[in-house]
């Protein structure tokens, strides 16, 4: 059976669907556990029973989110084994270690401390309970660390060597994989965005109570904790976002160019504050990439390279090459990549023949060319270009939303401190309706990360077309729709249970 575009597209769509659904639940858990831990700390410090009620209420909503989201990530493991078996084999050793640590950590942390946190209120001392709550928060975030180390490696593969005998990437340097700058910045940016989402979640529900004039004291206390946490973590999110962009500029320049719709590279490149892309735009034509746009001069050079005068390569430079800036074209990379594939093929052949000398020569050629091996599988240079419109709009929605969240947290804190929040109905309404925007920003972030790095399953080394299994596209299509139905049902269930609990309120909880 041959790989078909349909199979690759459905395999990607299925993985994207499961990842996006999974990511509805995860960031809330990452952040809400910390907010709950802070609330419980206030309870233990003050011994004010109101804080215990507040803590238990948000813990209940956390439980709903956790239960519905539980095991949605396991489906991705299924998909690795079935639809992405080539990929799973090739990355096995690199992925194996972080994912095994994540599995063990998640299992022990979640089964032990979650139980104490939910069931142990009257069974353990206040301090032991508080410790469990903090450990749940830290543990769930550490779980995310290992997953994001694995993801960071795909975006910037380091610390490994491809073994042409086993056809696997084998880990040479565990520290290089763990401290991969791409993984570190991705982890910090991802968890901080989760904290912001959890803050919006608490603000949205509390604002609703305030608008309804019920459970006012509870809502006012909750909203201050959430807005304070949201403000601090928003700053962390913006800072780590800056570092993430810097890493993208260094290791995935095509993604950065797509994020900004930049076709012709330039010095003092600007960031598009807002704009509408020209849909007819092609590589190296004379059309303006934008129907209209407003940009901040020099900001992209500064964001990407921390130098306002730096040259930022555009899509045309990266596809066609730019001699002045020492950028080789995709066509040249494809030639190098094909040499790597040929050398691997020769190595295999000479090994079979027992010709050690020729085998070593082939291996030498492979080692010298394998950094562009993935380009050897591209059919044409344009194949190295991700979906520019999807990447561009997702990035700009994420940035605009993230900036608005910061303003929202400041406004809520300001009016809370002046004790005027309950009178500011417009702000409370904004607080309620911002929550869906928070979820949209989360998903957009992942679209930027994953669509922006196409066509690569492993950056520069393995395109998605070579990473998929030779399975029937029909079965992938069936499971795609099964997942779509199952996950939508779960989402409806979560929202219904969650809304019911919110309408019952903290007193009836």
């Amino acid at each position: 059976m041959e790989h078909t575009d349909l199979l690759v597209d459905y395999s990607r769509a299925q993985f994207a669907l499961t990842a996006l659904y999974h990511w509805i639940f995860v960031p809330l858990t990452l952040g809400l556990t910390f907010i709950i831990a802070i609330m419980e700390t206030i309870y233990v410090k003050t011994l004010d029973e109101k804080w215990k009620t507040i803590t238990k209420y948000w813990m209940g909503l956390l439980a709903i989110n956790f239960a519905i989201g539980l095991a949605t990530g396991i489906i991705m493991e299924f998909e690795f084994g079935t639809n992405w078996s080539n990929y799973s084999w090739i990355v096995g050793d690199i992925f194996g270690a972080p994912l095994a640590i994540e599995g063990l950590m998640a299992f022990f942390m979640e089964s032990t401390f979650f139980a104490v946190m939910f069931f142990g209120w009257d069974k353990v001392s206040k301090r032991a309970h508080l410790t469990s709550t903090w450990l749940v928060a830290i543990g769930s975030n550490l779980s995310a660390l290992w997953i994001l180390i694995a993801n960071g490696w795909m975006q910037h593969p380091v610390g490994m060597k491809f073994n042409p005998d086993s056809a696997r990437n084998e880990m040479e340097n565990f520290a290089a994989v763990v401290f991969n700058p791409n993984a570190v910045s991705k982890f910090l940016h991802t968890i901080s965005s989760g904290y912001v989402l959890a803050s919006l979640f608490v603000i949205s529900i509390s604002a609703w109570y305030l608008l309804k004039k019920r459970d006012v004291a509870f809502a006012k206390k909750s909203i201050v904790v959430a807005a304070s946490f949201g403000l601090i973590t928003s700053i962390l999110m913006l800072t780590t976002g800056d570092e993430s962009a810097h890493q993208v500029a260094l290791n995935q320049p095509m993604k950065l160019a797509a994020m900004e719709g930049l076709y012709k590279g330039e010095e003092r490149a600007g960031i598009v504050a807002f704009g509408l892309l020209e849909s007819e735009k092609e590589i190296n034509d004379d059309l303006d990439p934008f129907k209209f746009m407003f940009e901040i001069p020099g900001a992209l050079s500064f964001l990407g390279y921390h130098d306002i005068n730096a040259f930022v390569p555009g899509i045309d430079d990266l596809i066609l090459g730019n001699e002045k800036h020492n950028i080789i074209s995709v066509k040249e990379k494809m030639i190098i990549g094909k040499k790597a594939v040929q050398a691997l093929s020769d190595y295999k052949k000479f090994k079979k023949e027992g010709n050690t000398l020729a085998m070593n020569e082939a291996l030498k050629t492979f080692r010298a060319t394998s950094h562009y091996m993935g380009y050897g599988y591209l059919k044409k240079p344009e194949g190295a270009l991700p979906d520019v419109a999807l990447t561009f709009y997702s990035f700009h929605i994420m940035v605009a939303a993230g900036s608005w969240f910061l303003v929202l947290f400041i406004l809520i804190l300001y009016f809370s401190m002046k004790n005027e929040l309950t009178n500011k109905k417009w702000l409370l309404r904004l607080g309620v309706i911002t929550l869906p925007l928070g979820y949209a920003a989360q998903e957009c972030g992942w679209i930027v990360a994953e669509v922006g790095r196409q066509p690569w399953a492993i950056q520069d080394l393995l395109p998605v077309g070579m990473a998929t299994s030779n399975v029937g596209s029909t079965s992938v299509m069936i499971t795609f729709w099964l997942f779509a139905i199952l996950f939508t049902a779960l989402l409806i269930a979560e929202v219904k249970i969650m809304l019911k609990q919110i309408s019952i309120g903290p007193e009836g909880h």
Partner: protein, 70 residues
């Protein structure tokens, strides 16, 4: 023995006294059943485990895939 009993009662009392939790556990059980008993079994075989006996066969297959156009 005493600590085992404590752990048992932690979980037992926790589950017995749950309100929303019971609905959630039903949902979890339903979801896990669909995922593992239906989807995994029917649609998600581990290709490399099922189609090949040894790691050498798996390696050869992947090398074949990586170099088949050469």
């Amino acid at each position: 023995m005493k600590s085992l009993h404590w752990v048992y009662s932690l979980y037992y009392d926790g589950f017995v006294n749950m309100r929303v939790g019971k609905t959630l556990w039903l949902l979890i059980a339903f979801k896990l059943f669909i995922m593992f008993a239906v989807m995994k079994w029917l649609f998600f075989p581990n290709i490399m485990q099922e189609n090949f006996q040894t790691d050498q066969e798996r390696s050869n297959y992947i090398l074949e895939q990586l170099t088949k156009d050469n």
